[in-house]
Symmetry: C2
Subunit: 377 residues, 2 copies
Amino acid sequence: MDNSVGIVQAQHANFDQPLTCLSSGVLPRYDLAYETYGSLNADKSNAILICHALSGNHHVAGTYADDPKNVGWWDNMVGPGKPVDTNRFFVLGLNNLGGCHGTTGPSSIDPRSGQPYGSNFPMMTVEDWVESQARLADRLGIKQFAAVMGGSLGGMQAMQWAITYPERVRHVLAIASAPCLTTENIAFNDVARNAILTDPDFHGGDFYQHGVVPTRGLRLARMLGHITYLSDDAMAGKFGRGLRSGKYKFGYDIEFEVESYLRYQGDKFASYFDANTYLLMTKALDYFDPARHTEHNLAHAFAPIQAGFLVVSFSSDWRFSPDRSREIVKALLHNRCNISYAEIQSRHGHDSFLMQDEQYFAVMRNYLDNIAREVSR
Amino acid sequence: MDNSVGIVQAQHANFDQPLTCLSSGVLPRYDLAYETYGSLNADKSNAILICHALSGNHHVAGTYADDPKNVGWWDNMVGPGKPVDTNRFFVLGLNNLGGCHGTTGPSSIDPRSGQPYGSNFPMMTVEDWVESQARLADRLGIKQFAAVMGGSLGGMQAMQWAITYPERVRHVLAIASAPCLTTENIAFNDVARNAILTDPDFHGGDFYQHGVVPTRGLRLARMLGHITYLSDDAMAGKFGRGLRSGKYKFGYDIEFEVESYLRYQGDKFASYFDANTYLLMTKALDYFDPARHTEHNLAHAFAPIQAGFLVVSFSSDWRFSPDRSREIVKALLHNRCNISYAEIQSRHGHDSFLMQDEQYFAVMRNYLDNIAREVSR
């Protein structure tokens, strides 16, 4: 592929300085797995940080030499000539703390006990991630990002960057995001968590020592997640009431096509994702609420922000609906921020932010081209 | 309560004639638990059949002498002077086959084995229920119902009555119902079922002999159900992002008020409902699709219908949305049926059909008053 970043390699940065989390939990030391694409320019002004969502990681674009089918999760967005143009930007993606793809997480060994952290891994928040990302930026010599961007939970991190480090972020791209979860979002997360927490193989989070994995719970959590990532329309269009064998079989095996899809997605996810990581990520989503410090006034919470913003929402996204993006826009406007907003007509639900939609990509490309023009070569 | 039917008693009808189900499964004999309120008139023309939804039963109105807090599930709708006026109508409610409240179901003893049916209980469909309900009507000497009515899955049974026995139903009241489930509905049901099916205490449906109950799975299924019965707005209004202890506790115990509500509802349900019944009921929902026999043409499927129809939907019901009710209305209009339709503005989601909303009750009362006028005293 001539517009791919090509073969990439994960890197690891080790931090010996303890991280005290918002929960008061302490990580004595930790590793961050990350990837970079493109070249940092002389004054280090062309760096873009890409933050991942619930199940993402540092493998944003390209493939691995020993695993050519493992394409990065935002490969359609990031590469030479793509909206996030690696000919012009130095792109950084990392696996967040608590993750299960090379960054220190619940399945890593706790140096204090010699056992996996498991239930002892501190609860993570978006604020903690921003802190750990800032340390990685320091390590790479990046004083200010040209942009911090992400979809969903990734967009929340980008917003938090602009609040915590106003002088370190020139632009935020918050895609399919929200200023906090709705009650219904939290409720879905709670069902997903309870599926894992009540799986007899979970062992209070310390299943590693028991040689088992709570696959049943993780599978259910992912099945449920998939329903909420798609729109009703998209599911109807993709599967309808189609039957696997053309007729009712009157049993509990797969009958409808949509059941086949969900179970396949659930099984696949449960085979590689860490249950504790899933729990942590959903909790970080629940906790994100910058307005909780400002008597629920989001405009006041956004007061420190200096960055320019691109906010993008998708019409069929019922999990992070356009209404929620408009709340962000309104609070930014109150602070006289530089703000662009696009609501994309799309039937793919929350998953739209990962899809290659023409209008969506044109908006992204246009905004990022303007950023590139601000940056010296 | 002067407008309550007061103290009621469940009755049981035993049927020795085997029932061959749509699935080809056979029930050699069965009991139906039912309740009646009001008096059957001389020509037996004032009977109304009320069909229950997923977790309902025959206890539609009133209370029990030995359990005065156990109020029927539609007590606000049924009673003297209420929309379904028991001073004028003879009201019949029953627990559907496969149920767990006195009617023969998976936890009943299979006379062929002397063990609970468990996994051997035949799969149920709306068509099978209508057949068993017709036999009960025969037993009570009711040749024709003044109305068959119900909400959600109950509305599906009422529609099926009008298709299977056009001459036995004068009116159908289909509330918050649909001509079939959407793909998304089936997907949610599949997650709920998988929670039960993969619970190690389920034992393939034969948990009775193991002295255990798959409470974890049933609890998850009910938690998920509750999210889909409410609207996003209703949940936000009721719980918001309220915290049980006023602050984040950074753990997996209950933090948000909505988590407390869901877990309470899940625990309560799992303590009394039968897991196999839950599975059967969700499958009956998935299977209902009268247009499957008419090349997906609902108007053709409705061709036999002679009954007048009242169709009611609720604006915030995203599980059985007004769009789905309009499909019913359109197909009935095509057949030149007598049809009234009301879309009620309500923020309670699918649960609206159980709530006492002024406009909703006025529509119901008006339609039922007209039916009462057709009926001789």
